[in-house]
């Protein structure tokens, strides 16, 4: 029965349809759109590379947005991963109440992407918000979290870091999968805790580190809710991540063509980074079953 090829295809049909209609076609269409100007009222008309020319040579907003996005990604992704791994290592112990902690850290990551939490963040860091209140109790002046470009980016970053739980849970599972007998053998071989960590633990969890890294990278580049609701991209566009610019171009200014062009630039950057990551993964990701020293 399983060799019945028609049946198999039948089951997979919904996916194929969805793929064509909602993924493949829009994917190609957006590429085409990026070479047009389209405001939804008149027909789209071809402008060739004009959108891109404007973007790269005349659009300072684009460059500002791009640099903010890159800063955001290159700060949050490593930090979040490192912190998640750190906490996972601490939790990887026969502690009582480990599940309680694990749950506690995980909850923010399932709530974190929501509007509700973004709203909360906005009120917490507002000038009269509780964070400044707390700082006040130790004698620090209120910080203009949303008034200062640097601090604004900081609050958004913090929101993302707050959601390290999901990455941590994956790390923890991977750590717990490392057979205890390996550590015991290492102990007998004379390795210290430190050495065991670097030479056994880390190599064995590199596939998971890689997986988490890619996931976080792709997600970070698409961050929208936080900046949009908390800072609206300000002040002075210091939190104006590319997804916000894309949204405003397409759905506020009704410049669909330009929005598509921006989207493609963002997509290309993510793709290039992902490919680089994949290619270089050969050198540092170790899959058990490989014969490597």
């Amino acid at each position: 029965m399983y060799e019945s090829r028609i049946l198999g295809l039948a089951y997979v049909t919904p996916f194929v349809i969805g793929l064509l209609v909602f993924t493949a076609f829009p994917f190609l269409a957006s590429l085409g759109l990026s070479f047009t100007e389209y405001n939804l009222i008149e027909r789209p008309y071809w402008v060739g590379l004009d959108n891109f020319e404007f973007m790269f040579f005349h659009d300072s907003l684009f460059w500002k947005s791009l640099s903010v996005t890159l800063a955001y990604v290159f700060i949050t992704v490593p930090l979040k991963l490192a912190f998640a791994l750190y906490i996972a290592l601490i939790l990887n112990f026969k502690l009582k109440g480990i599940n309680l902690f694990r749950t506690g850290y995980y909850v923010p990551s399932i709530l974190g992407g929501s509007v509700a939490i973004a709203v909360l963040w906005r009120y917490m860091f507002a000038d009269f918000g509780v964070i400044n209140l707390i700082l006040g109790t130790v004698g620090i002046d209120p910080v203009p979290w949303f008034g200062d470009p640097g601090w604004a980016l900081f609050t958004i970053t913090l929101l993302r870091l707050w959601q390290f739980g999901s990455a941590m849970v994956i790390f923890l599972a991977a750590l717990q999968n490392v057979p205890v007998s390996l550590y015991e053998a290492a102990m007998i071989d004379g390795a210290r805790k430190w050495q065991a960590f670097f030479r056994i633990t880390i190599p064995l969890i590199t596939p998971v580190i890689f997986f988490n890294f890619i996931m976080q990278l792709v997600q970070a580049f698409q961050e929208f809710n936080g900046p949009y609701i908390i800072t609206q991209g300000g002040p002075l566009k210091s939190t104006y991540l590319l997804p916000l610019y894309i949204y405003e171009s397409a759905f506020r200014n009704f410049e669909m063509g330009y929005g598509a062009a921006l989207a493609w630039v963002l997509f290309s950057i993510v793709m290039v980074l992902t490919i680089i990551a994949f290619v270089t993964s050969k050198y540092w990701v170790f899959y058990s079953g490989d014969k490597q020293s």
């Binding site: 829009p26 849970v169 949204y247």
Partner: protein
Amino acid sequence: MRSIEQTAASAQAMAEVRKTERRQKINAVVRYVILAAVGFAMIYPLLWLIGASFKTNHEIFTEIGFIPMHPTLDGYIEGWKTSTEYTFGRFFINTFIILIPKVLATAFSSTLVAYGFARFDFPGKKILFSILIATLLLPNVVTRIPQYILFRELGWLDSYLPLWVPQMFAVDAFFVFMLIQFLRGIPRDMEEAAMIDGCKPFQVLLYIVIPMLKPAIISVCLFQFMWSMNDFLGPLIYISSVEKYPIALALKMSISATESFEWNRILSMTVLALTPSLAVFFLAQKYFIEGISTTGLKG
């Protein structure tokens, strides 16, 4: 009679043991301290939120503790009314009107497609599967604009259709992938036994495979529920009439609509907005953590 050497040796051994025990205890204490500190920092925002929703506005601006000195339901009552002609209840209902078809459609289509991939051999399977994995990594910024144009052509703007109809076609590759991984861990024996017992192919899926897939399907539903509750950009671009707003849009609207100092109204609605997710999570905890760990490891 123990010799002097023997007693000295055993005393030294005892000292060693005590030293190790002490070290282990310190180690554990340090861990607990770090975990507790981090844990507190993590939970504080939520605790403050809940407390603040019951505080008077004045208290919000002056006290940092989370237990309100003069608890009040004012925030909830006023917040519920919202500043539109609808109560927050309306927005809640809207959210569920979107959610339920979405979750059901996801469960349905993901199961079918996963079954096809996991159990059958068909031409182009390898390619399609690679594409499936590729879509996991695909940033969907790039498809959003044309999708909007497509739905506009279909006349689906300002309706809920764009928010759940695609799910009928297994567009969320993550769930298909999750079910495929789960299915790979189940031997085919029982399905073969069912075929021998007289099951037609679709009956095998219905009577045998789906019952065995139950925990995974539940995980899929739970995850989709959570993610959909958090969905903001989708409703933002497709829904324009206030009466159709889900909670996400309603909350956003409240920020601008509310007087600058009536914080407890927004905060209380925020608590309500988070409640379904929290409730579902705590009721079905194990499905979440296991679901994420399995896919994560096999990725």
